[in-house]
Amino acid sequence: MPDLGLEVLFKGKNAVRLLGGLWIALRISLISVLISIPLGILLGALMTWKNPVMRAILRVYLEFIRIMPQLVLLFLVYFGTTRAFGWDLSGEVASVIVFSLWGTAEMSDLVRGALQSIPVHQYESAAALGMNRVQTYLYIIIPQTIRRLIPLSINLITRMIKTTSLILMIGVVEVLKVAQQIIEANRMASPNAAFGIYLTVFILYFLACWPISLLAKYLEKRWK
């Protein structure tokens, strides 16, 4: 059997350190998701309004965030704004800001799409049954919107978790950075550690994202 350098994993606190790194990545994603969902719902609902100025502003925001590579956004917020405005941002806070900006933009577009995909005759059927506006949204429109939205937003969450691998570039010691540190520290003793450690990182990402994807698939099937 080839030497995969897996023994490094069990040296000292390496396994715990990797898990710690994963936790940092997950925590940043989770906080960003918690910020993105309500803001995204709000902006998404605003996007369906008739007001052309409001729609144009939101459109520009969405396109701007989408066109920019996430890494450029991270650099812009972490290095750019700290210089320009002279404030002191930790890498983690900068990450949360960028991921929330990104998540809010993506979420708002999902919400807009879900709301606009509800056919007009659903509103009309509800009205014809004597439902008022609140009842129509409460019992007819929102339940259908949520069913369309949940699988999509879960996919967004897994995309966010995966993208946190970029934040090592602004000095946040997340799981990939920890992996690099471990490999570097054991370069002499276990030159093959890179394979084993990166394999572990792969499995950790997989374990974090897979159940979430499964849940999305399950809900999609159940609510089709």
């Binding site: 005759h121 659903q122 009309e124 059927s125 509800a126 009205a127 014809a128 049954l129 004597g130 439902m131 008022n132 506006r133 009842q135 019992y139 007819i140 339940p143 259908q144 069913r147 609510w223 089709k224």
Partner: protein, 256 residues
């Protein structure tokens, strides 16, 4: 005519989309227990008229009253609380299958009686089941709309309207989107309702059905009622040339 019997009044209704006039000064009345069939060429404004009656469309002239209360008026000054209340008196079944896809058949039927009319759940479910039984769909109560055929969906839509205890039912070409073999099962339900002396306003292209079910036929063309009469008279010797021409489109000459 005994005016106390009048349930629905369409009073000088004018409806425009932009500067295109769809309905021009249309008036007629529907008495309790009457079945009125509205026919006319495609695009003449039949759907629009039904939609005006339960205020899904704003109107530009005239007024519509149900039980003497204004449900839709030019200028649109009907309070939304009144509108929600009056719409419960008007049941409507649309051409497109318009069931709520996230609810079961039973929930589709009971949601409005429960949430809008705040009726007792056991009582309304029992009533819903009786109706489903009657239209041959009791075994579908727990199914979702996507599991039903078009004809089954329309029967559920009819039951859903009925369980609100409306005083008048509007049907807008409810069989137009159905495969031919499913048309009958839906029309039979409507014939059954007519026998129970329900007040109905039916838009249809099924002429044989129209003749069987109607107390009165309204023929609409170019935004107006061109002819109205008893089905026996209307279908055998229509008075106007336009009605004759229209009825002729349903006939075929032998070619062999």
């Amino acid at each position: 005519m005994d005016t106390s019997q009048i349930l629905l009044e369409i009073d000088h209704l004018t409806k425009k989309f932009g500067d295109q006039t769809i309905l021009q000064d249309v008036s007629f009345q529907v008495r309790k227990g009457e079945v009125i069939v509205i026919i006319g060429p495609s695009g003449c404004g039949k759907s629009t008229m039904l939609r005006c009656i339960n205020a899904l469309e704003e109107i530009q002239g005239g007024e519509i009253r149900v039980d003497g209360e204004t449900v839709n008026a030019a200028g649109g000054n009907v309070r939304s609380a009144d509108l929600a209340r009056l719409r419960q008196k008007i049941g409507m079944v649309f051409q497109s299958y318009d069931l709520f896809p996230h609810l079961t058949v039973l929930d589709n039927i009971t949601i409005a009686p429960l949430k809008v009319q705040k009726r007792n759940k056991a009582e309304i479910e029992q009533e819903a089941m009786q109706w489903l039984e009657r239209v041959g769909l009791a075994d579908k109560a727990k199914s979702f709309p996507r599991e039903l055929s078009g004809g089954q969906k329309q029967r559920v839509a009819i039951v859903r309207a009925l369980c609100m205890h409306p005083e008048v039912l509007l049907f807008d070409e409810v069989t137009a989107a159905l495969d031919p073999e499913m048309v009958r099962e839906v029309l039979d339900v409507m014939l059954d309702l007519a026998k129970q002396e329900r007040t109905m306003l039916i838009v249809t292209h099924e002429m044989a059905f129209a003749r069987a079910v109607a107390d009165r036929v309204l023929f609409i063309d170019s935004g107006n009622i061109v002819e109205e009469g008893k089905p026996a008279d209307f279908f055998t010797h229509p008075a106007t040339e336009r009605a004759q021409k229209f009825l002729h489109t349903f006939e075929f000459e032998a070619v062999k």
